[in-house]
């Protein structure tokens, strides 16, 4: 095996590069993010969590949903280390991550880990949410080591 690569600090892609769009089902998630509340879509009838939010519960077929406040913590399920800014190909270290969200069993969020060196990220790492403003006044949830 070759020597582990030293990547250095894991960054977030520049906020002006980050765009989101939403519909009637996902707006609740992004409105909560604007208020720095981490949530996930939950069936109001049977309690099943689903992400991204869709119109109907896959377990009980109910169209009723809500967006409960969650602790804002989670666990790294898997990740990649990328070393180029996709917008221009310039060197840029960032760590896309799949997070198991605490308080929402089965729901995951795809985001980034920041605030540590990329090579220090690992599966099973406990993380907490950080908020960064992006385009059009929306707010993007990412994570740092808890």
């Amino acid at each position: 095996m070759s020597e582990p690569i030293k990547y250095g600090p894991a960054l977030l892609l520049p906020g002006e590069q980050l765009h989101i769009a939403m519909n009637n089902d996902t707006e609740g998630f992004w409105q909560a993010a604007k208020e720095h509340r981490l949530t996930a879509c939950q069936c109001a009838k049977c309690g099943h969590f689903r992400m991204p939010p869709g119109p109907v519960c896959p377990e009980c077929s109910s169209f009723e949903k809500h967006y409960p406040d969650l602790p804002g913590t989670g666990t790294v399920f898997s990740y990649a280390i990328c070393n180029r800014n996709p917008a221009n190909g310039e060197p840029y270290v960032y760590v896309p991550v799949v997070v198991d969200i605490d308080g929402a069993p089965g729901a995951r969020l795809v985001s980034n880990v920041t605030g540590c060196d990329a090579e220090d990220v690992h599966i099973g790492m406990k993380v907490e949410v950080v908020w960064t403003e992006i385009n059009d006044g929306w707010v993007y949830p990412h994570f740092r080591k808890a």
Binding site: I20, A21, F77, C82, V97
Partner: protein, 405 residues
């Protein structure tokens, strides 16, 4: 209970253009290349293009992932007088080999007599597959993916590979062996794009693009077209070539996989997989066969870890044992004996997407046909059954078993 349509249809013609490095097919067009591939496939089958009366596409009838193919345009260009079947599997390259099952559906319903499945691909800068996800307009669904910077297929796949390494101790050397073992198979192939022998040192020196994946874990970016013609077993007897019987074919998947690496909600063990559990189960049920009955495996290889994972899901080895299976040489083709190495089954005797050409999985069907005909360049001795796969990507993921006549 075996499949009602087992051996009722056969692939009777295969045709291709040259394979070009990405963008180098210009100023040809996707229709120019598609028509050449169809005409070549008809010549191989010994029929006229005017006898084609069905189209069974995949990837939503797209050329690559951008432009749409249109059956009426093909009629206008190739002069087919009547079309009775024009259909496509949804999603992307995952349906490649499943398109032969769609053709079988059209043939068994007597909608058509000679059905084409094809892909034609030209990756000019605006339609380069490696960047196409990142250029998609942001929508309600990909707003939960794109901001993370997972914009290329290699980025997306690296997250699954990482989980496999975590769960089972899979090593980068095993991914390297997938590239090395299949590169050995292109040295003697005139049309192949990558032919130079590859060592583990070469692999380890390859730049990391999406850690844990290196450039040599990524498949080629190429242009070209490939077409295959499927007909009924009765008509196949009158064609020029020995029929390659459609022995089993599936295109689908299970909820745990669904949108796969554009969703990332898959529970273990499906997360660190290629999504082939379901299509594998289905073809084994259809045929009563298992991995040990396959003489050769043509596994969709857009990224090396996905080959290792498919070997597990088809049952060439147990889940989690892909690392040791691959590193013991069991993917390799033995040029001396025309058989596998160390009790394994030769994989991608044509070099695959990684080394020969990437026409979104169609070259795997061509190789499966040539293997059961007995005319392959790297011919497996006494090849009776060839397995070919499509995907791994969102559902439908597909699987095909061809039987020799």
């Amino acid at each position: 209970m075996s499949w009602a349509h087992m051996d009722k249809t056969a692939i009777v013609g295969v045709g291709a253009t040259d394979y070009y490095v990405r963008g180098h097919s210009w100023p040809r067009t996707v229709y120019d290349m598609a028509c050449e591939a169809i005409i070549n496939a008809c010549a191989d089958a010994g029929i006229s293009p005017h006898q084609i009366d069905g189209f069974a596409y995949y990837s939503g009838a797209s050329a690559g992932y951008t432009g749409k193919l249109d059956t009426g345009t093909f009629m206008e260009m190739l002069g087919m007088p009547e079309i009775g079947f024009s259909a496509a599997l949804t999603s992307g390259g995952n349906g490649s080999v499943g398109s032969v099952g769609l053709a079988t559906a059209g043939l068994m319903n007597e909608d058509c007599k000679y059905c084409v499945s094809l892909m034609t691909l030209q990756q000019l800068p605006q339609s380069r597959l490696g960047t196409v996800f990142g250029k998609m307009d942001v929508d309600w669904q990909n707003s939960f993916l794109q901001p993370s910077g997972l914009v290329g297929p290699g980025h997306l796949m690296s997250v699954l590979a990482r989980r496999h390494m975590h769960l089972y101790g899979t090593t980068q050397e095993a991914f390297g062996e997938v590239a090395i073992a299949t590169r050995r198979n292109t040295a003697n192939r005139p049309k192949a794009v990558r032919k130079k022998p590859l060592s583990m040192d070469d692999y380890m020196a390859s730049p990391m693009l999406a850690d844990p994946l290196r450039r040599l874990d990524f498949c080629l970016e190429t242009d070209g077209a490939v077409a295959v013609i499927t007909t009924t077993a009765d008509r196949a007897k009158d064609c020029r070539q020995k029929p390659a019987y459609v022995h089993g074919v599936s295109a689908g998947g299970q909820r745990e996989w669904s949108r796969a690496f554009t969703w990332y909600g898959m529970p273990d063990p499906y997360f660190a997989s290629s999504g082939h559990d379901w299509p594998a189960k289905r073809v084994w049920e259809q045929t009563g066969l298992s991995a040990k009955d396959m003489d050769v495996a043509l596994l969709y290889d857009h990224f090396t870890p996905m080959v290792l994972m498919q070997l597990e899901e088809y049952g060439f080895c147990e889940k989690g044992e892909g690392n040791d299976y691959v590193l013991s040489g069991k993917m390799r083709y033995d040029f001396e004996t025309g058989k596998g190495v160390n009790g394994g089954t030769p994989v991608n005797t044509h070099g695959g997407n990684l080394n020969e050409a990437y026409i979104i999985g169609m070259t795997h069907i061509v190789e499966a046909v040539e293997q059961v005909r007995g005319t392959a360049i790297n011919q497996v001795k006494d090849c009776e059954f060839a397995l070919a796969s499509g995907g791994p990507a969102s559902i439908p993921v597909s699987s095909l078993i061809l039987r020799s006549a």
